[in-house]
């Protein structure tokens, strides 16, 4: 299937360029996705993701920014098939998420902000479990895991000790290894570097770049780190109140806020403009509710 989709986006940005045509099926097509949650039966449902459309080409890194509670993690869960859509549709490399769920599941994997593992098990045991779920045999999984872990700076000795004995940064690297092990063509990274020390953060960022360059991976990244988004992402979308407020290249966003609003040409200005809040507010809330 070859598509050249012009995705309608509810952007207030007046000068947003049209999405470029992509040869072949898009890595990710999210078309008018809406998700509501009913928290209290007496109240109207909360709209977590509101009519959002996104198109990501193969091999791109797309950054999704937004305040806590803006719908980033819900969006990732919708794409992961962990939540059902109320409206809209999701396609991964031309496969519809609802009709071809298994085909989509084989193509994607996810790293979330909380590195969730069986904490008493070792990285090797956790990775073996994940690999077998995706149909890899034990030997193949062990070899591949050792290679990925070595690349992330985790030696073989560490592979046999319980995950709970590892630092937060190490655990996050194991989480990334778990996702890479299954060779996903679409990788969903939900704040993968939150809480990491600067060195670990750089390691992970370099690895993400390597995945894109060497493994042809397409990446959807949510982050609170604007420098990280600037460094890694080809395009950035900013979610505010569940709606996609703007979508641009990092340079385009900077230009936009400078030209249209007379603000300093930085991603921080863009973030504040389109989310209506400061980055400090967001980080403070994030510490209280990292799950978004």
């Amino acid at each position: 299937m070859s598509i050249a989709v012009s995705v309608p986006i509810q952007s207030p940005a007046p000068s947003r360029p049209a999405i470029r045509p992509i040869p072949g099926p898009a890595a990710l097509l999210v078309d008018h996705a809406t998700k509501r949650f009913r928290v209290d039966r007496r109240k109207p449902p909360v709209v977590a993701v509101d009519d959002v459309s996104v198109l990501i080409g193969r091999g791109d890194i797309y950054g999704l920014l937004g305040a806590n509670g803006s719908g980033k993690s819900t969006f990732i869960r919708l794409v992961s098939g962990l939540l059902t859509l109320d409206e809209g549709r999701v396609e991964v490399f031309g496969h519809d998420l609802v009709r071809e769920e298994m085909a989509v599941k084989r193509l994607i994997n996810r790293v979330s902000v909380d590195a969730a593992f069986f904490k008493k098990l070792s990285p090797a045991e956790n990775l073996s479990f994940a690999a077998r779920l995706y149909g890899l045999d034990g030997r193949e999984a062990r070899l591949k895991a050792a290679g990925i872990m070595a690349r992330l700076g985790i030696g073989e000795k560490r592979m046999a000790r319980p995950v709970e004995q590892m630092s937060r940064g190490m655990q996050q690297k194991v989480a990334i290894a778990r996702a890479i092990l299954t060779s996903p063509t679409l990788l969903l990274l939900d704040e993968p570097t939150t809480g990491l020390d600067p060195r670990s953060k750089l390691d992970v960022q370099s690895f993400i770049e390597e995945l894109q360059a060497d493994h042809d991976a397409t990446i959807l990244l949510t982050t609170h780190d604007l420098a990280e988004a600037d460094r890694l992402c080809g395009r950035i979308g900013i979610l505010a109140g569940g709606r996609l407020a703007v979508e641009e290249t990092p340079e385009g966003l900077k230009r936009l806020v400078a030209l249209e609003y007379g603000l300093p040409p930085t991603l921080e200005s863009a973030f504040m403009k389109y989310t209506g809040r400061s980055l400090d507010d967001d980080v403070e809330e994030g510490e209280a509710d990292p799950a978004d």
Partner: protein, 266 residues
């Protein structure tokens, strides 16, 4: 063929993971075994104190085989609870694995684990009470354990739905369900002494038929053909409960995905 290999690997993933968890929580395994032995001995000693060999055997069999059935039931029921506790549920649900493979993989380990646990318990009790099992029909007992396991796997699958719907209350409900099965299934007494409505409930518990048949096989040496009245209800339950459990689990998963309940809590 490729799909079968993939399913086999995915199913084995749950067996291997649960084995690794058992290994890593070995201290707790020993503690649970000690508790099970102490509990079974305490109940069985009532039979010893009365001086009735038949009562003693009946209580030993009740304690040992209830232990097996409850281990199988709990292991499957905890499939979701454990993953929720560790926060890995979303990752497992994202993986390209059919729910039947996931649940049957967990059930297979539960049966293996339950058999080992029960064999140790039975050996200890047999030595403690110098049980005479000369007349016992072990083949018939094994047949009923096998068929009973299938029925209990179905009930366990239905129980596994509860933690999917509600994190804490789900686990509590699994515990309540297990307790009710203990009460109505004639584990330590004949179901005929129960009030009429409880006797009706006891008829839909697989444990009732397993325990009745295993007692007759091990104490009286009854053959499988003599135990047919206990066999067919178990077969019917296995054929009904497993598909119903799988269907119910699928419905619960859809509900959890609609309402956002797969997300880590706690």
């Amino acid at each position: 063929m490729i799909a079968l290999t993939r399913d086999a690997r995915a199913g084995y993933a749950f067996v291997e993971r649960n084995f690794n968890l058992t290994k890593r929580y070995f201290g707790w395994e020993v503690a649970f075994l000690v508790y099970a032995v102490a509990g079974a001995l305490s109940v069985s000693l009532i039979g010893q104190s009365v001086g009735s060999r038949t009562l003693l055997m009946s209580l030993v069999i009740g304690a040992v085989f209830w232990n097996y059935l409850s281990v199988v039931f709990q292991s499957i029921g905890d499939t979701i609870t454990w993953e929720r506790w560790e926060g890995t549920l979303e990752y497992t649900m994202m993986a390209p694995v059919r729910r039947s493979v996931q649940l049957l993989g967990s059930a297979l380990y539960a049966v293996i684990y339950g058999l080992i646990h029960t064999a140790i318990l039975l050996a200890i009790l047999a030595l403690f009470f110098s049980l005479d099992l000369g007349r016992a029909n072990f083949a018939a007992a094994a047949l009923f354990m096998g068929v009973g396991s299938a029925s209990f796997i179905g009930v366990g699958m239905l129980a596994a739905i509860l933690p999917m719907m509600s994190v804490e209350r789900g686990s509590q409900m699994v515990f309540v369900l297990q307790s009710c099965l203990l009460l109505v299934s004639g584990v330590y007494y004949p179901t005929t002494i129960l009030p009429g409505w409880m006797q009706l409930v006891s008829r839909v518990s697989p444990a009732t038929y397993v325990l009745d048949a295993v007692r007759k096989a091990l104490i009286d040496g009854a053959s499988a053909s003599q135990l047919l009245p206990d066999l067919w209800p178990l077969l019917v339950m296995a054929f009904v409960f497993i598909p119903v459990g799988l269907w119910g689990f699928g419905q619960a998963e859809r509900y959890a995905k609609r309402t956002g309940k797969l997300k880590r809590v706690g």
